[in-house]
Symmetry: C2
Subunit: 308 residues, 2 copies
Amino acid sequence: MAKKFVIGIDLGGTNLKIGVLDLKHKLFAKEVLSTRNFSRKERLISAIIDSIKTIIKNNGIKKAEVLGVGLGLPGPIDVEHGIVHYLPNIPGWKEVNLKKILEKELNLPVFVDNDAKLMSLAEYKLGRGQGFKNVICLTLGTGIGSGVIIDGRLYRGANNAAGEFGHVPINEEGPRCNCGGIACIEAYIGNNRIIREARRVFKRFVSPEELDTLAKEKNKKAIKIWVKVGERLGIALTGAVNLLNLDAIVIGGGISGAGKLLFDNVRKTINKRAMSVQAKHVKIFKARFGNDAGLVGASILVEEGTKL
Amino acid sequence: MAKKFVIGIDLGGTNLKIGVLDLKHKLFAKEVLSTRNFSRKERLISAIIDSIKTIIKNNGIKKAEVLGVGLGLPGPIDVEHGIVHYLPNIPGWKEVNLKKILEKELNLPVFVDNDAKLMSLAEYKLGRGQGFKNVICLTLGTGIGSGVIIDGRLYRGANNAAGEFGHVPINEEGPRCNCGGIACIEAYIGNNRIIREARRVFKRFVSPEELDTLAKEKNKKAIKIWVKVGERLGIALTGAVNLLNLDAIVIGGGISGAGKLLFDNVRKTINKRAMSVQAKHVKIFKARFGNDAGLVGASILVEEGTKL
């Protein structure tokens, strides 16, 4: 059998990542462009096409060796038809049939999905969620990306909009969330909210990374902030654990760097507040894949799509 | 083909209901005993066996015509083996292999499940959840029973303990719940909590039924209590709607008698707080089956079990 490759794309608000992966989803070539260089939708799509052609050429791959192209985008996607409904943080995208556009230009099978779902797929198939049936995967960052695996399959819900764990409310009253809701967990522990809380406490700008370092140096104020982040995340997860009787929770993304302090307080809160059978059963893991989770997930998407 | 029947049993903290149903799950004979007459586990099991034999005899049914016996019990059940782990409101039950005991005594196929799951099955297969793929069914009473249908199947979770919607927290701080948790939705809108709130407001005992009547007579205090119940239920449901992108929510049980006032405020809260795609998509229904939901669900359980 001839060697085969997959092209994975992870489009974020900041970076456009392009990777070449083998059929075991091992990444062996990667390029990163700044998304901000391409303000218009048409230019961004051209950049995606060019970058795919370039990475194929630069790695001495024949087109016939490319099984397909998988893309993860930060917004709601019609997976079946490859249509991007819109991208909350990249203006100008509305009902774009990206699959059709790219397949015409590239003459390759193209598959498109939400980036958080692809990260979940990567963790479920090859990372810390492996071997479990019912798993929630979270990516903590500016927002909370998430995906829910139910009975061994990525659960998409009625409109492909399932898995919005970031918008589970944890209070009746509370801060307004970007989604239009009130007191969603994301409105408490999204990056910007943590920075705002750190500014209130330290009277200056403190990045989540610095806050992490401060906590590791035993700074009490920094520790207190992370404890609260862990507790609040634990409260939102308590609802999911009781409702879904999960096998595992996989937590990744920038904020998960806070490590032991964060994870300990998530665990403690679930043990304290969730029902005993569900709390005892659920395992909590730090994600295996870091920045490349989206590319690995995109590669799995192509594998699954071309098998059908 | 000879005529076939199913025996359904719904064991509650107050009543033991026994029904005969046809293969279309139509109930055509029913008896109700008081559970409280049988304080010991052994006597209650004997009463179940006697009542099954009696209802078969009284309706002129031959044993060969009975397809099987289905039982719903108010607690966590090992469905595969028919073992009752325990019953929170009926003392003395711990790891009882009810399936084995009854099959030996009756020489009929026996199937056992949690009562709220059976009610959900009834609403999903034959009631208001029919035709949808992703549904949550609630029974509002002393506790909140619930079941989650995912991709067209009753979702059981890792330990058969999924679907505990009543124990989704709606606040970081709040009343202690019977489950050991804090600020669970059940701790706000369970029967007893509503009665307590009504006592605080009216300075006397007011049953949920009277509170309902008062609200219909435009009593402002009563209306305010129901509005709050609806809002709080709507907040807990917002999390489930965002996470699971549900097609439908089916609400039954005594409290759902509050009708329009309750349903309007659940709807309003979901529209206000859930994400727009998910909120627009989800339908909210009042349950079709009342007191007989458990018997209908038990009958469906037998049908599904004997098909395997």
